[in-house]
Symmetry: C2
Amino acid sequence: MVVFSADERDDFTFIEFELPEGVIAPGELAQALVDAPEIDPRKGVVISGRGPVWLFGALVHIYHATAWVATFDPRLGAVVVETHTPNRKVGEVVLG
Amino acid sequence: MVVFSADERDDFTFIEFELPEGVIAPGELAQALVDAPEIDPRKGVVISGRGPVWLFGALVHIYHATAWVATFDPRLGAVVVETHTPNRKVGEVVLG
């Protein structure tokens, strides 16, 4: 199971996921994407949490119609991985 | 720097990346995406390598027009994170 929370910031939505059981099986991925918060696509999104690469990858994909997508790296901050706005560049660190 | 290799399989391209310096900085991400192999979008793609979540996330995005995208998890195999073909489902493990 994946539990999501969404925190609205000025120009992006901060999405945090948690795995209450500490792990997620691939068979749970489709349901997790159904449970992921709907967000305002005019804003960016930052995806944060402790989970496998494939969970991040799937979340990056479902939010690809937003202004920009970043994944949160605890060592660095949120790194922009895709963007459709001139205000953000791939590789830019937000919340660094 | 990110070094890529691409291995053609019957129905997907297996892309492996390596970080010769062991690390990648966010400022190197845009160039890495330029260097990523071009692949046949009619096939799927499996992305494999040891690197940060944001590198995987950016690669998942640039390959999103392919038949399906999976990321390789050494503990599980390649987990499908997005698909545009009825032959593959999100969460399916390929190469498991």
